[in-house]
């Protein structure tokens, strides 16, 4: 029965599209990039970003479509952004008229990477521990709808294909994967078109299932915008990363770490060391090397100077091939004392993958809360997908059941035809059509009464 309903759900929902894949990301990243402009403090940088919003948002799209352009892997993808920065340092590139557009594109790209690494080590594990239902990035997009109201990407796509080819060539990409640079532009366009269609389909899915996603994740739906590493926080972190990159592009010094959770002078979300919000997360604009962090690299002390033991680890490292990251986390060995002041100190040292050095002590001071700031909002009831399914099945039921009228009309129109000569056959056909129509109506009612959960579940976990 479940399989049958799933198939029906698939037919109903994707009658004019194809099943979705994993992520909605582009719209959310694009939105964060747009929000981050308002947090940029350097006037020249803010002016450049405002003048090149489309390039910025196009850049924010880059990491996801680059992944789809197999065989880009995550390691390659991260090393790519470093090569992009080296490319932007070239005098002949800096002399070009479209240099500001390229810079905006690059910042959008880098912002996406930083946001992913940051959210995946803080907010996402926390959501999993609170709401237990976070399955995919797609869900974030569904939650975003409540805040963003509209689902538009608002971007005139900017694709510096010749520059990307030059950057990829500098990394030996085409030789390594036996690809032809002459076909690269066409391949990119094919991948992006597929992604664009997928993204648009996910909008409809998100529109119809956002209530359901919020009912599964009531905490996230209420706090997605303001939570640590939520959308606003991510926008601030992105802006801080851009400031450092902007300084580097102008050969000026930039701080090694650009953002933290908790903020310097702020308050921790929970003292529970088992929660991702009970760790201290630092964001750098350098790719850090996991092997360069030692037990004495970071020290956590309370107001009396007592050291709290713990360990530092890069957030996104899952395998030896991924031994670099923009995010490092300090995890205390035990929960911190509620209502106490703490200081995290990072000792000077070489932490960057390319030998980048933290030249001075880096410190953040923060308080732990008296109690975890976790509320439990009431889940809301979703109905949109159920109504949508009913709007499909009810007319279909009318069409099929109404077929009995067509049989009658056929008999009257051809009084000597087969149906008129065999009244049993005509009556049988009429009954079959009426029963089939009733069955379709029942299926529509089932989806209406169950809020289309079977369709949503299938769409969420459909293979791609």
């Amino acid at each position: 029965m479940q399989r049958f309903l799933s198939l029906l759900a698939l037919l109903c929902f994707f009658l004019c599209s194809s099943p979705p894949a994993t992520a909605w990301d582009e719209v959310t990243h694009s939105k964060i990039a747009d929000m981050a402009i308002d947090f940029v403090e350097t006037p020249e940088l803010a002016a450049l970003l405002r003048a090149h919003r489309s390039e910025l948002r196009s850049g924010a799209w880059f990491p996801d479509w680059a992944q789809y352009g197999h065989p880009f892997d995550y390691g390659n993808h991260r090393s790519h952004v470093d090569r992009f920065r080296a490319y932007l340092h070239r005098p002949e590139v800096q002399a070009r008229a479209d240099y500001p557009a390229l810079v905006a594109y690059y910042l959008g790209t880098y912002g996406h990477c930083a946001e992913d690494f940051y959210v995946d080590t803080t907010l996402e594990p926390f959501l999993k521990s609170i709401d237990h239902h976070v399955a995919r990035d797609t869900e974030y997009g569904m939650l975003d709808i409540k805040e963003f109201q509209y689902l538009n990407l608002h971007v005139v796509l900017y694709l510096p294909i010749d520059d990307l080819i030059a950057i990829y060539q500098s990394g030996g990409y085409f030789q390594k994967y036996h690809r032809d640079p002459a076909n690269f532009g066409r391949e990119i366009c094919t991948v992006m078109k597929r992604q664009y269609i997928l993204m648009r389909e996910l909008k409809l899915l998100s529109f119809l299932s956002s209530q359901y996603a919020r009912s599964l994740m009531p905490w996230a739906s209420q706090h997605m915008m303001t939570a640590p590493a939520g959308l606003e926080d991510e926008a601030r972190a992105t802006a801080a990363t851009w400031e450092a990159l902007w300084a580097d592009l102008h050969d000026k010094p930039a701080p090694f770490f650009v953002y933290s959770t908790p903020l310097n002078g702020g308050s921790m979300f929970t003292p529970d060391h088992t929660s991702s919000y009970g760790r201290i997360t630092l964001l750098s604009w350098h790719r850090m090397d996991n092997n360069r962090f030692h037990p004495d690299s970071m020290t956590l002390t309370d107001a009396d100077g007592t050291i709290t033991s713990g360990h530092a680890q890069l957030g996104y490292v899952h395998s030896p091939e991924e031994a670099s990251d923009l995010v490092v986390q300090f995890t205390p060995d035990a929960s911190l004392t509620p209502g106490h002041a703490y200081t995290l100190t990072v000792n000077p040292g070489v932490y960057g993958l390319a030998g980048e050095r933290l030249t001075t002590f880096y410190q953040i001071h923060f308080m732990t809360p008296e109690a975890p700031k976790i509320s439990s909002p009431q889940p809301e009831r979703g109905w949109a997908m159920g109504v949508f399914a009913m709007c499909f099945f009810a007319p279909l039921a009318l069409i099929v059941a109404g077929g009995s009228g067509l049989v009658r009309l056929q008999i009257d129109g051809s009084p000597h035809g087969l149906l008129a000569r065999k009244p049993g056959l005509a009556t049988g056909m009429q009954r079959i059509l009426e029963v089939a129509g009733l069955l379709l109506l029942v299926i529509g009612l089932y989806f209406l009464l169950t809020n289309g959960v079977a369709i949503i579940d299938y769409a969420r976990f459909a293979p791609h």
């Binding site: 009658l15 004019c16 599209s17 509209y150 689902l151 538009n152 796509l157 992006m192 078109k193 664009y196 269609i197 648009r200 389909e201 909008k203 409809l204 529109f207 709007c391 499909f392 009810a394 007319p395 279909l396 039921a397 009318l398 069409i399 099929v400 059941a401 109404g402 077929g403 009995s404 009228g405 067509l406 049989v407 009658r408 009309l409 009257d412 129109g413």
Partner: protein, 72 residues
């Protein structure tokens, strides 16, 4: 990019359903006239219901096409 597929396909289906609804309505009207000429009065309620179904389903696909048009 891709809009032609996303909006075009459901829009085409919606137009097709509108045509189908109209065709069955015309067929019903013609049959009623023919039967009336024979002194018989037929309503063909089923065909009317079917036409309504076609129009409603056209609205469903029209909604999908409109959604993709608005959110582009």
């Amino acid at each position: 990019m891709g809009d032609d597929v996303l909006m075009g396909r459901p829009a085409a289906i919606a137009v097709l359903l509108l045509i189908l609804g109209t065709v069955v309505l015309i067929a019903r009207w013609k049959a009623q006239r023919r039967m009336a000429a024979q002194g018989k009065h037929r309503i063909y309620r089923g065909v009317l219901i079917q036409a309504i179904g076609f129009y409603l389903l056209a609205g469903f696909f029209g909604f999908i096409a409109a959604f993709f048009a608005i959110t582009r």
